[in-house]
C-alpha cells in the first residue's frame, strides 16, 4: 500500500508534463494495484487504450496540491538584502526536502526573486542567491543536488507591482515549482 501511494505520488508529480513516463512509474502503478474482478483492465498485452480504476479515494489526493498539506506552501520570503531562511519558513523547506528525499525521481526548480531597486543583472544574482540558500538547506535535509535546479527571475517577474516597501517585501522571495507544474 505504501508503495502504491508512492507510485501515485510520482504520477501526480508528473501529471501535466507531456513527457514519456519512465519505467519506474509504469512498474509501480501497475504492479501494486489490486484489480477487481469486474475491471481486469491492466492486461499488459492490451490494445493501446486501457482504463484503470483507481483504488481507494484517499490516496488519489496529490499532497503537493492539497491545501491542507504543508507541501502546498511554496513561497519563502526574505528580508531586505538577505538570503537567510527565516525560522518561520524552515518547516516549509523541511517538508519539501523530505518529499524530495522520499521521492528520488521528483525534481523541482527554486525560483529566486528580488525587489525592483537597482541593477537588473545584480538583482538577478540576488534572486539566485536566495534560491541557492533554499537549495542548500534542502540538501542538508536529505534532498539531492540533482533534484533541485535553482534559478533566478531577479526583478523581472514581480508578484506585487507597487513601488513601496510592502510590494518589495512580497517580491523578495523564492518559489518552489515541481517539474511538470
Amino acid at each position: 500500500m505504501k508503495k502504491l501511494f508512492a507510485g501515485l505520488l510520482i504520477m501526480g508529480v508528473l501529471a501535466g508534463c507531456g513527457s514519456t513516463p519512465t519505467k519506474e512509474q509504469e512498474g509501480a502503478a501497475v504492479e501494486d494495484r489490486k484489480p477487481s474482478v469486474e475491471a481486469p483492465a491492466a492486461k499488459p498485452a492490451d490494445s493501446g487504450v486501457s482504463s484503470q480504476p483507481l483504488g481507494t479515494s484517499t490516496v488519489a489526493v496529490n499532497p503537493l496540491k492539497d491545501p491542507g498539506n504543508i507541501l502546498s506552501k511554496r513561497s519563502i520570503y526574505f528580508d531586505f538584502d538577505s538570503n537567510l531562511v527565516k525560522d518561520e519558513y524552515k518547516p516549509i523547506v523541511t517538508a519539501h526536502a523530505r518529499y524530495l528525499a522520499q521521492n528520488r525521481s521528483a525534481q523541482m526548480r527554486i525560483e529566486g526573486n528580488a525587489d525592483e531597486r537597482g541593477s537588473r543583472e545584480y538583482n538577478l544574482a540576488l534572486g539566485q542567491r536566495r534560491a541557492d540558500a533554499v537549495k542548500q538547506m534542502m540538501q542538508l535535509l536529505g534532498a539531492q543536488a540533482s533534484q533541485i535546479e535553482s534559478v533566478s527571475f531577479g526583478e523581472e517577474k514581480p508578484r506585487a507591482t507597487g513601488h513601496d516597501e510592502a510590494s518589495w517585501a512580497e517580491n523578495r522571495r523564492a518559489d518552489i515549482r515541481y517539474q511538470g507544474e
Binding site: T22, R117, R120, A125, R129, E149, V151
Partner: protein, 432 residues
Amino acid sequence: MQMKTKSCLAALIAVMLLFALPSAHAALTIEIVGAGANQIPIAIAPFRAEDGLAQKLTPVIAADLARSGLFKMVDAGGMVPVPHEPEQVDFPQWRARGAEAVVIGNITPLSDGRYDIRFRLMDVVKQTQLAGFVYFASAAQLRLTAHKIADVIYEKMTGDAGVFATRITYVVKKGARYELQVADADGFGAQTVLASNEPIISPAWAPDGTRLAYVSFERKKPVVYVQSLTTGSRQVVANFWGSNSAPAWSPDGTRLAVTLTKDGGSQLYLVNADGSGTPTRLTHSSAIDTEANFSPDGQWILFTSDRGGSPQIYRIPAAGGQAQRLTFEGGYNVSPRHSPDGKSFTFIQRNGSRFNVAVQDFASRQVQVLTDGGIDESPSFAPNGKMILYATVVRERGILAAVSSDGRVKQRFTEDAGDVREPSWGPLVNKQ
C-alpha cells in the same frame, strides 16, 4: 529524460510565442534639455530638388546636429537664390546672419530609381569648402544618408566622430508582452527583432553591429541567446544548469563573458559566441560576480561584485587573475561600461534612494555624477564617447534618456506606448 522532454516542449512553445516582426511602427520622440558650452552656429540651406522626396534630408540633418547640443541652427530662409553650388554662396550674407558654416546640396534622380545626393560644407569665415561628398541612395536610404551627412558635418566641426548613423537597442514592455527593438539613434525606424511573453533583458551589440546577445526567460529561466540582425536566426550560447545572464562581447566578436551559476553562486565565465565548446571560468569568489564588460583593447574586464560586502566595481585581466576594486564612494556602484577610448567607465551609483549615472576616470579615479533623477539604469556610451544612453523612470514609466559625457546636454526619448528599458548604443559601422 524527463527534463529533456520538458525542455523540448518548452522550446516548442517558445518558438510559437516568438516571431520576428519586420514592421516599423513605434517611434521614439526626443526632447532636449541643456546645451554645450560653445554652440557652433550653422546654416543648412534646403537641398535642390528635395521638396518632391518622400523624405527631405535637411530637416533630418538639422535635427541631428541640434540634438547633440553642440550646434545652433541659423535661419536659412529667404536667401535668393537658395545656394546649391559653392559659387552661389553669398558669404557676407551668411556671416551677417551669424553662421560660421553653411551646408548646401543637390539631389538628382537616377534612371535606376536611386538618387545622386551631393552636399558641401562651406566655411563662411574662410570662404572655403570644408567637406564635400556624393552618395547614391534608394528612397529607403534617404534618412540614413541624411544621418551620414550629419556625421560628416559633426566630425569636421567638432573633431569627434559623428554617431547619427548608428543604431540603438532596447526592450519595450507592453502589458504582458516584451519586445526587443532596434532603432536609429534618433529613435526612428524602430523594428521589433524579438517578441515574447516572458522577460528579455541585457541586450548587447556585437562589435560589428550585426548581432545582438541578450537574456530571454522564454524557457522559464534566464538563458543567453545570440541573434543575427541580418537573418533573424537565433542561437542559444549559454543554457547551463541554473541561471545564465549578463552577456558581454569580446572586442573581436568571437567570445562572450557571461554570468553562470552552474557551479554555485553567480560567477563570470567565457563562452564562444557560436555556442560551441565548454565555458572557461574567469572568477572564483564566494560572492556575486556579474555585469562583465570588456575594455576596448580586450585586455580587461570590468564587473560588479559584492565580495567586499556591498556591490562595487572591480576589474580583472581578461585572461583571468587578481581582481582590483575601482569604486569606493558609496555603498552601491553597479553596471560598469567602458568608454570607447578605454580611459573611463560609466556606471550607476546609488545616492540615498536615487540611482544616478556616473563616470569614473581610470587614471585620476575622479568620479563625476552626471544625472540627478530618480532611478537610472543600464548606461552605455555612444561609440564616440560623447553621450551616455540610459534608462530612467518618469511618472512610473520607463523611458530612455541620454546625457553628454560632460553632463551639460540631456535628451529624453519618449515612446508612444509601453515601458522602455535596457538600452544599449550600437557600434560605429561603415564609417563615412
